[in-house]
């Protein structure tokens, strides 16, 4: 079995460099044959694209997509500096 450390690095690199994603802020953890993706993106489509790219970069492993969507709320209270 490939060292999990290098699998995680390859997935992270793919997410950053693949033109479908170009996501730098996704945390990738590999435990045995399980890959965990964590982070935040702006929409469901981007969440799925990240999962697709991760699956391709880690064939044969089970990918858990734990990425959440950024909730952009209405502007809140001002800060006085």
């Amino acid at each position: 079995m490939e060292t999990p450390h290098y699998v995680a690095a390859r997935v992270q690199r793919a997410l950053a460099e693949d033109d479908r994603t170009n996501e730098l802020g996704i945390r990738v953890d590999v435990r045995g044959e399980q890959v965990y993706l964590r982070g935040q993106v702006s929409c469901e489509e981007r969440r799925h694209q990240i999962e697709d790219v991760a699956r391709e970069a880690a064939p044969g492993l089970r990918v858990h997509n734990e990425i959440t969507l950024v909730e952009v709320r209405e502007p809140g209270e001002e800060e006085h500096l």
């Binding site: 702006s42 709320r73 502007p75 001002e78 800060e79």
Partner: protein, 242 residues
């Protein structure tokens, strides 16, 4: 002197898949703020098409919009095209320069640009060794020098530095310390501290924290969208109320 209300956000990462979504959140911004600052990573891939989406989302607001690019906006080598598209839409784009915006008789000066990395004092790269390392650090140093001059020449009642990269570690808390050198540089803070400013706004660190301060005492705010979790945050300068 009237207070100034500064709306700020960064890392909006717009694309065709988000067209129209961010614009909706900007409705009524003219009642809440006097200016909108956008601290880079306007796009995801840095394409001309995404640049057009950004221009459409930010154009024709009733308050001025000042933006800088981020590293994502450089990815497809169309940074100059994106700047042109945004400027054609009436957005002020700072590329290591400054602009003065009159707001009801108060002169708001904004200086800045993308910025760059290198790390923070005591734990940073220096212009030594391989040409690639020297080029990396030189890029940041030259940017900081241009900002220093831009701030020095800026005649304004209030000064703000707008950047994509961070000037301090404070606002990176939450990011892995190993990647700090890729998230900012103390040279950016040093430039601001040497000439003075009221506020330093940046993005880039999605997992960072909002509030920090430069060694010279300038308030720093990381307004990356995943950090502030609002369409924008409003900071008030010099006033008892907003």
């Amino acid at each position: 002197m009237r207070e100034l209300r500064i709306a700020a956000v960064a890392d909006i990462h717009l694309g065709e898949d988000l067209r129209g979504h961010y614009r909706k959140k900007l409705e009524g911004i003219e009642r809440r703020a006097d200016v909108l600052l956008v601290g880079g990573d306007l796009t995801r891939h840095g394409t001309v098409e995404e640049g057009r989406v950004v221009a459409d989302e930010l154009r024709d607001l009733q308050i001025p919009v000042v933006a800088v690019l981020g590293n994502h906006d450089y990815h497809s080598d169309h940074d100059r095209d994106i700047i042109s598209i945004l400027r054609d839409a009436g957005i002020i784009v700072l590329d290591d320069e400054a602009a003065v915006l009159p707001v009801d008789g108060v002169r708001l000066g904004v200086a800045g640009g993308k910025g760059f990395g290198g790390g923070f004092a005591g734990k940073c790269a220096s212009e030594f060794g391989e040409p690639e390392t020297k080029a990396f650090v030189r890029h940041t140093r030259e940017i900081a020098e241009r900002w220093r001059w831009a701030l020095k020449d800026l005649e304004a009642d209030h000064k703000i530095v707008l950047s994509h990269y961070s000037p301090v570690k404070d606002t990176l808390m939450g990011e892995p310390p190993e990647i700090y050198p890729f998230l900012g540089s103390y040279l950016l803070a040093e430039a601001a501290d040497s000439e003075g400013a009221d506020l330093f706004v940046h993005g880039h660190a999605h997992a960072g924290t909002e509030k920090g301060v430069t060694p010279g005492g300038i308030r720093v705010r990381n307004v990356a969208l995943p950090v502030i979790k609002h369409a924008y945050t409003v900071y008030c300068l010099d006033g008892d109320y907003c």
